[in-house]
Point group: C2
Chain length 333, copies 2
Amino acid sequence: MSFKAETSNVILSGAKDHKDHQTEEKNLIKKLIEKIEETKAPVCVGLDPNLSFVPEHIKKEAFEEFGESPEGAGEAIYRFNKGIVDAVYDLIPAVKPQIAMYEQFGIPGLKAFKDTVDYCHEKGLLVIGDIKRGDIGNTSMSYAKAHIGEIEIGSKLFRPFNEDFCTVNPYLGSDGVQPFIDVCGKGDAGIFVLVKTSNKSSGEFQDRTSDGRPLYEIVAGHVEKWGASSMEGDYSNVGAVVGATYPEMGRTLRRIMPHAYILVPGYGAQGGKAEDLKGFFNDDGLGAIVNSSRGIIAAYTKEPYNDRFDGLSYADAAREAVKDMLEDINGSL
Amino acid sequence: MSFKAETSNVILSGAKDHKDHQTEEKNLIKKLIEKIEETKAPVCVGLDPNLSFVPEHIKKEAFEEFGESPEGAGEAIYRFNKGIVDAVYDLIPAVKPQIAMYEQFGIPGLKAFKDTVDYCHEKGLLVIGDIKRGDIGNTSMSYAKAHIGEIEIGSKLFRPFNEDFCTVNPYLGSDGVQPFIDVCGKGDAGIFVLVKTSNKSSGEFQDRTSDGRPLYEIVAGHVEKWGASSMEGDYSNVGAVVGATYPEMGRTLRRIMPHAYILVPGYGAQGGKAEDLKGFFNDDGLGAIVNSSRGIIAAYTKEPYNDRFDGLSYADAAREAVKDMLEDINGSL
C-alpha cells in the first residue's frame, strides 16, 4: 500500500539508484486515479489541525510531556492526526495537510508536518501538501525539491518533506511554475496550481477581465498547456485548485482544462454543497478530488455528530463524517 | 542595537507582558527608516545561501561534523551566513533571507533559517523574511503569527520564526492579506506585498490589463489602501515588492503607492542597474530598499572580486561588494 515510505528520509546514494527510483515511480496522477477508483472516494481529508480542534486529553498529555510549548503543540497535533488517519485511511485515497497549521508552531510544528506525511505514507495514503509556494525560477526549484522532489547534498540525495503532490501559487508566471513541473516530470510527483480559490475575496484579482476573459480562465489555459508535458493517459500530473464555492466557474474551468485533475476545496465548512460539485468532474466520472478539512477532523464538535461523539471519540466522529461525505458526494454525481 | 533578540524564542507569559511588549515595540517601518538614515544605506543583503555558494572549507567542516546530510547542509549555510553577517552588519540596516533556500534542506534547513534570524537580531539587523506566503483568511493568520507575530500555546505566547517583516503573495485577495495586516497593527511587524516581481515572466499575469489598468497597478492600489490602517509618519508598515528590472513600472507604482515602502529585488545579478533605481524613491530620498543577494554573498566567485578574494575570504569580498553597491546606488540617487 505504501508508495513512498521506503524512500522517506532515506539517502539515495549515487546516480544509478536515483534513476531506478525515477523509472519505477513515475506518474503520480495515475496512482491517484487508481486509489480513487479502488476506494470509490473522490475525496481527500484536510489535515489542518488547529489546536482548538485537538481534544483536551490529547493536549493535556502532550503538554505534560513536552510543556506548553511548540514541542508540546507539535506532539499534540501529530497524535491528533494519527488518530484521524487510523480511523479513515481505508476509506480515502489521499490527505491534504495544510502546512500553515504546522508552520505556526515553528520547527517542532514542521517536524509534526513531516511525521504526518510519513505516517500517511505508512498507511498507504497519498499526500497533497497544501503549501501554496511560488517564487522566481531557481527559488521555486528549491521549494519543488523540498516538497515533491529530491535535494542533492554532497554525493547523496534526500527527500526533505516527501509529499506526493503540492499546491503552487501562479502569481509569478510560467518561470515560477516551471521548476515544479520539471520536478513532476523527473519523478513521482504532481502539482495543483491555484486557479480560482474558494475564499470570498478571491475574485478581487482572479476575476479581473482582460481581452474578455477573467484572469482565472487565463491561468487555467496555462495549466492545461503546462500539463501537456506530464500526461499519463487522459490526465496530467499538473492539476488545478478550484473552489467548490464557485460551481459555475468550476464548470467553465472543467472545459478549459480537460486534462487537469481539479482539487476542490471549500466543500462543507466553507459552504460548498454536493450538488454543486458535478460540474467539476468529467464525463468519465473522474477529474476532481474534493477536500474537506474542518468538516471531518472537527466533526465531533459539530452537528449532527456532537450528540453522539466527544473529544475521546473524535476519530470515530471523523470516520462517520467521511462516510456521510462520500454518500453525499457519490449520491449527487 | 538589537530590536527583538530579547523576545526571540522567549515565552511571553500572560496577557500583561504581551500588551507591554506591543506598546513598546510598535511601528517597524519607522525603525527601518531610522536604520537606513543611520547607515546611509537604502539596501538589504539577501541571505540566500545556495549550497554552491558556500566555500569548500565550510562545507567540509560541517559535513565532517554532521555528515553529508540535511543537518550538515543546515550547519554549513548557518556558518556561511554568520561570516557574511559579521562582515557587513555595520554597513546595512537589514537582511532578507529567502526561506526556500533553507526549506530545501527540510527541518535542519529551517532551523538554520531561525538561527540566522536570531543571529541577525543579535547584530542589530532588521530581518525581512522572504517567504511569499498567502492563503485564505484563517490560514494566512497562521502564517502571519508564525513569521511576524505571536502564537498562543496554552497560557503562553511564542514568536516561532520572529522575522520583523515578511513578503506576502496577494493572489487570494484582501481576505488572504488582511491577517498579515492585522498582525502588523498588533505588534512590531511589517509586510511587503508582491506587486510586480523581478522575473522575466512576471508580466504573464501581473501585466494583464483590465479597465485600462494592468493587474500590478490594481494590486498597488490595494496596497496603498491596506496600508492606511498601519501608518507612522509618511510611511506604512504595509509595503510592496517591485522588481528593479522594471524601472518604468517602478516610477508609476511609486506614484500609486506614495506611502508604501518598496522592496526592490533584481539589482545586480538579475540585471537591475543603479541608474534605474531613482524612480523607486520618493523626493524625500526615502521609500525604497534595494536588495542584492548573489551579487554580495557570492561576490568572491565573480568579477571584479574573484581576483583578490577566494573561498577563505568570501566574507571580505561580501563587505567590499556591499561598499561598492552603496557607492553605486548613492551615486545615482
